[in-house]
């Protein structure tokens, strides 16, 4: 039977909840359920009857499409089962939806409004007029079961005689079903397909579909990072081994006994020493392609996914901080694009993407009880086709757990393979291969998933707060891209093989084929290796924490990854071939330097330029995001996302991972995509320099600082783009080594391209600008020495440390004027290192009242932010500014790296000046008591009120409230 319970707020309502329940229960039981779903103080319910409400013309029901994760339905089902003491297998299904009431009169208007409420890829909508509801009394009650077409569970893919065209087609569009349709991209090129063909020819048999799908997952760009692994030009060992890992290895050697790296590049996150008792881990991921299609689902899956990279570090680290970074098209951009030539698959406009992505991180982070501390937002028209959504998580793990070194793990022969957490559905099929290609009309909609943070929270708590220290498992990894196919194959390396019985995998709904179960990316799952003698205790613990645990096979040392279904062996791939069979391809690059020219900029008013620059979305505040993310949970916040009375966004965040300790952790990030329009080498150098500078400026220590790389590139089969990549990676090596800051983790996403059509059906291609995000994580010995960026007291002296050169190329002022320019900021690491060491010393000696790093918009913007952050004025003179900048324009807006503006209490000035005497510096002026910022360069060039600057800085954010 189907019953519907409506729950609405008492009195006037514009939105209400609906619970459609399929059950075999009596009326009294349904009434009992309705009571439990209603908080009688503020809500009221109605059963099988649309509630009495007035003042609306249409009601719009928005619910999920069948099979899409419905978190509220899970909770409701749990409540009902517990309330009525039902058996776990009782016949009970719940489907939730929201009902919006509108006053819009004609159906066209209502349809337009409804379109803003739902995403057709994952949701359904039903419009009912007041009239219809009056007659029918209720929204239609219809069960939303997933019914899968019956099909053969396993098919043999005839490869042995396939010609090159056929092989290519399989690689590009997927295995052919019996009816001729293709399953979706394997993202295997001809070369790889030939190697597979050869392999099976040697075995004298054809591969099964699941074998081919499994190879595609494991070999995908997403999993194997082929572009970073393959030889490129004369770099035989590839970019990753030569430059990224190469830098880390060299730095660790140089550091000797001061090396703080413990587990780098080998695990789901990178781990470094926090103190004698703990390690701290960090990992930053991207979730770009899914966020383009379903911004909310893409972003929430991104953040809860990277949480699992923390829980999957070593024997399981506890997530203690989340970070995010968004690169969007401009919200005012209303141009319409489509994925298909028939114009039936519209792309979401930036405003919708922003809204959904911001919400996704909100729900994912807030529901998980992990403070979301650090973040940034960047805008560029070129992120219009694919947004970039960075999501990262910092973890904490005791160095020893039950006598074991916690960063080491190994599945043992004979251990049970245990799947823990959510169930498997069709969601996320081909996620790994999907993110390895450009976004177009063939992009699979099933690749989109929605995260369930509560299922994961239960799992995470049960692992890192209980099972780990009870020694109940030997190894653990996350089910992310590629699902079981990747996690089991990865762990099987530890023991030497695996044997899985796919029938044992719990499913969301019946009818999934084995290959689908094997590669599905359904969320909230981890794979563990549980010793047989621990299973009973492990299972009991998980049951008592409402976490589903299932034995799906065992780890072996057979040298093969074997999968069975219905007692039949359907996959048997040699471990060596599975992991190392992927052919290498020698990549070639072309260097094409575009020579830009320096523009001649004539400003009517420097003051106006400063104000306009401050209003730019790449510079102005984003409090609307920071304040909807819980950054105080775990009681660890020290330097928050928003600082000072003027609530400016901070460039570094400091927190207390261990409540009983005064040691702090500092987090920063930096990216300068627009510098890449001139040189990706200098773009990468500036990102590293800024991430490090931001950390030191807040109180971080150069000697305990590590960095992470996230390359988001475009068209990575284009030799020019690859040339830009090589440049950037070389800079990573040069500057990491110069600053002695090892890379501990990294990730790449190489095909951020959109290929589609405009409103008139003309083909459109939009590629992102090559984007490198550098994140930094450092340990502070005393968090009480943290410095915030805003000015503090009238009368404090203001200094600049570091040289200002004429370097506005690729910077925000030129961008605002419509130019790229040529003089991109270049980083002099030796000089900057000296500055940073001195800066660190002044902070250690507690001589600073404030400290702000100079980034986009240069000195003028830093002064404006420090002033409006403290809601205090400042009188500034640029006369003695160190460096080669000649013009007032360059002095104000150059983005030269290596610079910091600090303020110093008069009583500390003498000591301070003594310490800084050997580095480039100048006293710029004082914090003033009138609420005005003045800047003079022989004559006064800026005079503007702090209140005005405050309004400008927060204008964009306020418009998003």
């Amino acid at each position: 039977m189907l019953s519907r319970i409506y729950v609405k707020p008492k009195g006037k309502a514009t939105i209400m909840s609906s619970y459609l329940i399929s059950h075999q229960l009596g009326k009294d039981k349904i009434l009992k359920i309705a009571n439990a779903l209603t908080n009688q103080t503020i809500e009221e319910f109605s059963i099988n009857k649309f509630p009495e409400v007035s003042g609306f013309s249409y009601a719009i029901e928005v619910g999920f499409l069948p099979g899409v994760t419905d978190n509220a339905a899970h909770s409701t089902k749990e409540t009902i089962t517990d309330l009525l003491h039902l058996k776990e297998n009782a016949k009970l299904s719940v489907y939730t939806s929201k009902i919006f009431l509108t006053n819009k009169k004609n159906s066209a208007q209502v349809k337009e409004f409804a379109a803003t409420l739902y995403n057709p890829l994952i949701e359904r909508v039903y419009l009912a007029s007041k009239q219809e509801l009056k007659i029918k009394k209720d929204f239609p009650r219809k069960e939303l079961k997933v019914i899968l077409k019956k099909s053969e569970p396993v098919i043999i893919v005839p490869l042995s005689n396939a010609n090159e065209t056929a092989l290519s087609l399989i690689g590009k569009e997927g295995i052919s079903e019996k009816d001729g349709t293709r399953r979706g991209p394997l993202a295997l090129d001809l070369n790889s397909m030939k190697v597979i063909q050869n392999h099976f020819n040697k075995l004298n048999r054809e591969p099964t579909d699941i074998e081919l799908e499994a190879l595609a997952q494991t070999w995908s760009e997403h999993c194997k990072h082929t572009i970073f692994a393959n030889p490129i030009d004369n770099i035989a060992d590839g970019l990753y081994r030569t430059y990224i890992k190469g830098a880390t290895n060299l730095i660790r050697k140089n550091k000797g006994k001061n090396d703080f790296c413990v587990s780098v590049f080998s695990d789901n996150s990178g781990g470094i020493v926090f103190d004698e008792n703990y390690l701290i881990t960090h990992k930053v991921e991207t979730h770009n392609s899914p966020s383009a299609l379903d911004p909310f689902g893409g972003a929430i899956t991104g953040i809860v996914g990277v949480n699992r990279d923390t829980v999957g570090f070593g024997l399981g680290a506890k997530p203690v901080a989340n970070v995010y970074g968004f690169c969007f098209g401009y919200p005012e951009d209303k141009a319409k694009y489509f994925r298909d030539p028939a114009l039936t698959q519209p792309m979401l406009p930036p405003a919708r993407i922003i809204d959904g992505v911001v919400k996704g991180i909100n729900v994912g982070g807030n529901c998980s009880g992990i403070p979301t501390l650090s973040g940034f937002v960047k805008f560029d028209d070129r992120y219009r086709g694919k947004p970039l959504v960075f999501a990262g998580t910092v973890g904490l793990i005791p160095r020893k757990s039950a006598g074991r070194m916690s960063h080491l793990k190994a599945a043992g022969k004979g251990d049970y393979i245990v799947m823990l957490g959510g169930r498997v559905g069709l969601d996320g099929i081909h996620g790994a291969t999907f993110s390895s290609v450009a976004l177009d009309s063939k992009s699979p909609a099933a690749a989109v998933q929605i995260g369930d943070p509560i299922t994961q929270k239960k799992l995470s708590d049960a692992i890192v707060k209980e099972a780990r220290d009870r020694k109940l498992y030997r190894s653990i990894t996350d089910n992310g891209a590629g699902g079981l196919s990747c996690s089991v194959a990865e762990m099987a390396k530890e023991s030497g093989g695996a044997e899985v019985d796919l029938e044992k995998v719990p499913l969301k709904y019946p009818g999934l084929r084995p290959w689908e179960i094997w590669i599905s990316e359904s969320q909230e799952r981890m794979t563990l290796s549980v010793p047989r003698e621990k299973w009973k205790e492990f299972e009991k613990l998980m049951r008592s924490r409402s976490v589903e645990a299932t034995i799906i096979g065992q780890f072996t040392d057979s040298g093969s990854c074997v999968v069975k279904y219905g007692g039949k062996k359907i996959m048997d791939i040699d471990m060596e071939f599975l992991h190392n069979g992927l052919p290498t391809e020698h990549l070639r690059t072309t260097q094409t330097y575009v020579k830009n020219t320096e523009p001649k900029i004539e400003l009517a008013s420097y003051e106006k330029a400063l104000e306009n620059l401050l209003a730019r979305k790449n510079i102005s505040g984003f409090a609307f995001i920071s304040e909807q993310y819980d950054h105080e949970v775990q009681a660890s916040s020290v330097l928050k996302p928003l600082a000072g009375p003027g609530r400016i966004n901070t460039d570094a965040q400091v927190f207390r991972p261990v409540l009983s300790s005064l040691k702090g952790a500092v987090l920063t990030s930096s990216t300068y995509p627009s510098y890449g329009d001139i040189s990706t080498y200098h773009m990468a150098a500036a990102a590293i320099d800024t991430a490090i500078r931001n950390a030191v400026a807040a109180g971080g220590s150069l000697s305990h600082l590590a960095i992470l790389d996230n390359f988001c590139w475009c068209s990575s089969n284009d030799p020019v783009r690859l040339g830009q990549l090589v440049d950037a990676v070389k800079a990573c090596y040069d500057y990491a080594v110069s600053y002695d800051t090892p890379f501990i983790s990294g990730k790449d996403s190489m095909f951020n391209d959109f290929k589609g059509y405009d409103e008139k059906g003309a083909p459109v291609a939009i590629s992102i600008p090559p984007t490198l995000l550098i994140s930094a994580i450092g340990v502070m010995s005393d968090l009480r020495k943290t410095i915030s960026p805003e000015f503090k007291r009238v009368g404090d002296s203001i200094y600049i440390l570091g040289d200002t050169n004429d370097e506005m190329g690729g910077g925000e002022l030129y961008r605002m004027a419509g130019f790229v320019g040529e003089n991109v900021p270049k980083v002099d690491a030796r000089k900057n290192l000296k500055t940073y060491k001195v800066l660190e010393q002044t902070i250690k000696k507690e001589l600073l009242a404030s400290s702000i790093s100079l980034t986009s918009g240069g000195l003028a913007i830093a002064l404006a932010k420090a002033s409006l952050g403290g809601m205090l004025g400042a009188d500034i003179s640029l006369k003695n500014l160190p460096g080669r900048a000649q013009t007032t324009l360059a002095k104000l807006f150059s983005e030269s790296q290596g610079r910091v503006v600090v303020s110093v209490n008069p009583k500390d000035v003498r000591t301070f000046e003594k310490i800084i005497k050997d580095i480039p510096h100048a006293k710029l002026g004082k914090v003033s008591k009138n609420d005005i910022l003045t800047i003079s360069d022989n004559k006064q060039v800026v005079k503007t009120a702090i209140k005005k600057l405050h309004n400008i800085y927060h204008k964009f954010s306020n418009s998003m409230q």
Partner: protein, 255 residues
């Protein structure tokens, strides 16, 4: 002899966990810093062994996102608690014990029916994390010696909702624990005094002669001086944040 023993007794605190509650560790830390002995206990472990509750002096429902706020914040956790532990809760309340519900814990407590009113969606319909100033109104062991307090809130459903009749009764009985007020932090960062739009500016309420306290703001997020946005103006001096006093009061009640 007996008297001395009571004086030195370390009050026992049970901090609930499970199903997405997430502030249990810092809440335990605050109670222990204040001098108590705190245990984190999963709801299912308490259901499996309901007698456990008798051992404790203080019951804390910490903040979090139990069941992801699905079906309404605090509702599902309270349903499960009521469904299995109604009797034990009643007995616990009959004794001279204390209960606190913080944020999601407050939402749970109202759904359990041990505190009046309910928590609805914030007036802007969005989750918000910011600092607020509180003025103490009611009388409670939890509030001894506190007149005002600055602490952060972080919630989506924190708009306290109450009928006029109930409000009048509560006011008369001194059952309004805190109201939002324009104080130090609001002045400092130019913030709204009542950001979620609570009825009568109510931030926290009392019941059972002040022994049960529910509040949306998080005192444990103001237990260290460095947590306050004002700390940067004067870093020296303070050993603890203002929020700790609430936990100290509870411990002191049993000494």
């Amino acid at each position: 002899m007996k008297k001395v023993k009571i004086k030195t007794k370390q009050p026992k605190v049970i901090v609930m966990s499970g199903y997405g509650l997430n502030c249990e560790e810092e809440t335990k830390f605050a109670f222990e810093w204040a001098g108590g002995a705190a245990d984190i206990v999963h709801l299912n472990d308490l259901i499996a062994n309901p007698k456990l509750l008798e051992q404790y002096d203080i019951l804390a429902f910490p903040g979090g996102f139990a069941y992801g706020d699905d079906t309404g914040s605090g509702k599902a956790y309270a349903n499960k608690f009521k469904n299995h532990l109604q009797k034990e809760l009643g007995e616990f309340l009959k004794k001279d014990t204390l209960i606190i519900g913080i944020c999601n814990g407050f939402q749970i407590a109202t759904n359990l029916g041990i505190l009046p009113g309910g928590l609805a969606w914030n007036k802007k319909g969005r989750y918000i994390d910011c600092w607020v100033d509180l003025k103490v109104q009611g009388k409670s062991p939890w509030l001894t010696g506190i007149k005002k307090l600055s602490v952060p809130i972080a919630h989506g459903e924190g708009k306290y909702t109450i009928t006029a009749t109930d409000y009048k009764r509560m006011q008369k009985n001194g059952e309004i624990a805190f109201v939002y007020t324009k104080g130090e932090i609001c002045e400092f960062q130019n913030l709204e005094k009542n950001p979620n739009g609570s009825d009568y500016d109510i931030a926290g309420v009392l019941a059972y002669n002040g022994r049960v306290l529910g509040l949306m703001p998080h005192p444990e997020r103001a237990m260290f001086p460095e947590q306050s946005p004002l700390w940067y103006l004067n870093k020296k001096g303070l050993k603890e944040g203002a929020g700790l006093q609430i936990f100290k009061n509870a411990i002191k009640y049993f000494r």
